[in-house]
Amino acid sequence: MKTSVVIGYAGLILTLATVPARAHHSAAGIDQTKQVTVVGTVKEFKWANPHSWIDLDVTDDKGETKVWSIEMTAPAYLARAGWKSTTIKPGDKVTVKVRPFRNGDPGGLFVDITLPDGRVLGQAPAAPRTPSQ
């Protein structure tokens, strides 16, 4: 399918500072100031610790298809945002927002997804909902 890639400057969002910590690797290779929207077809969705991920087939305006590797957080935080392991499956047409890799590789850190039924799912903050006071 034809896709669109939209790049916007979202500005620094403080919550993103948690990403390199709750991920198991550094996020220095991520451009935290940008947000990219890609439309594509789910190739694979992995529900796993410490990261889930989406591999998305994205076709540009020239008809070239590349796999975007979109790194997500742990399933526990995704579940808090309404995700299940069955939320998406190969073949689903979705729109995904990511913080892109600085080096231009196709992919980045997950921000949110628009599902085929129109629902939008993100990922919950790492901090627990009910800390004791």
């Binding site: 690797h25 410490p50 992919g107 800390p131």
Partner: protein, 275 residues
């Protein structure tokens, strides 16, 4: 002739003197050698029944629970960035400068954790994952949700291990003692590579950490004052205080750095990772 009652009383007293009394008085819990054996007494494991049953003063608090680094005032409380006067050794400064340059170029410097090396103390305590803590009279077991890293703090009176026998590790060997309302934990015997206090600040086998642990806020906040020395990496004491919040709606899960999953992550495989 002695009466049967006096014989029994004497036997009980003898058994106490030969058995229970030394175990109660000795600082290091040990299993007595078998009769006739030339082997030295073996130390008791922290979960040995005889060790757990040994009379001890009631501890001032119980850390049992699930804890999460307190980020309510700042998202960056998990980091160990030195503040105030702080001087790295020349060898460590090389790493610090290289990491700084890598960041400026949008690259990642020596992200060993991303390559599945353990995070190690102290940053394993502050990674933004829950930590389950289980306190027994003889030890505290801490299991991080981050790679299920296990840390044990021994409370049973044992000394640090023989340096010629101990196996260096990323979390080191922790011995805790109670000082009033504070648990003082002394940790050493760390590995000498692939271990970082924070990005570009290496930890060495000379790292020594003293933690003063308190429970505050009616037992719902865990506070640790760190004093860290590592003459291979920095001069003098590095002091920092961190806080954790007790959380009631979270458990830790099985989390492993699996080769196939890790190789799938562009962030860990990128050519922009400076090794």
């Amino acid at each position: 002739m002695k009466t049967p009652g006096r014989v029994i009383a004497f036997a009980c007293m003898l058994a106490f003197v030969l058995g229970a009394a030394p175990a109660m008085l000795a600082q290091e819990p040990v299993r007595p050698p078998q009769p006739g054996s030339s082997e030295p007494p073996a130390p008791l494991g922290a979960l040995a029944k005889a060790n757990l049953a040994k009379p001890r003063p009631k501890p001032p608090f119980d850390l049992t629970g699930t804890w999460f680094i307190d980020q309510r005032n700042s998202q960056n409380t998990w980091r160990f960035n030195p503040t105030g006067p702080f001087k790295l050794t020349p060898a460590a400064q090389v790493h610090y400068d290289a990491a700084k340059q890598a960041r400026a170029e949008g690259k990642v410097y020596r992200d060993d954790i991303g390559q599945c090396w353990p995070a190690g103390l102290p940053i394993i305590m502050t990674r933004v994952w829950p930590i389950a803590m289980i306190q027994q009279p003889t030890a505290i077991y801490m299991i991080s949700g981050f790679m299920n890293s296990l840390r044990t703090i021994f409370l049973d009176g044992r000394p640090h291990s023989d340096p010629d026998i101990v196996v260096a590790s990323f979390n080191g060997e922790s011995i805790g003692t109670w000082e009033g309302e504070t648990l003082v934990v002394d940790t050493k015997y760390f590995v000498n590579d692939h271990h970082w206090i924070d990005s570009g600040i290496p930890a060495s086998d000379q790292l020594h950490i003293v933690e003063r642990i308190k429970l505050v806020n009616n037992g719902n906040t865990l506070e640790i004052e760190y004093t860290m020395t590592d003459p291979k990496s920095w001069e003098g004491d590095w002091k920092v205080t961190k806080r954790w919040t007790r959380v009631e709606d979270t458990d830790i899960a099985e989390v492993s750095c699996l080769p196939d999953l890790n190789q799938h992550m562009p962030s860990t495989q990128s050519k922009d990772n400076v090794r």
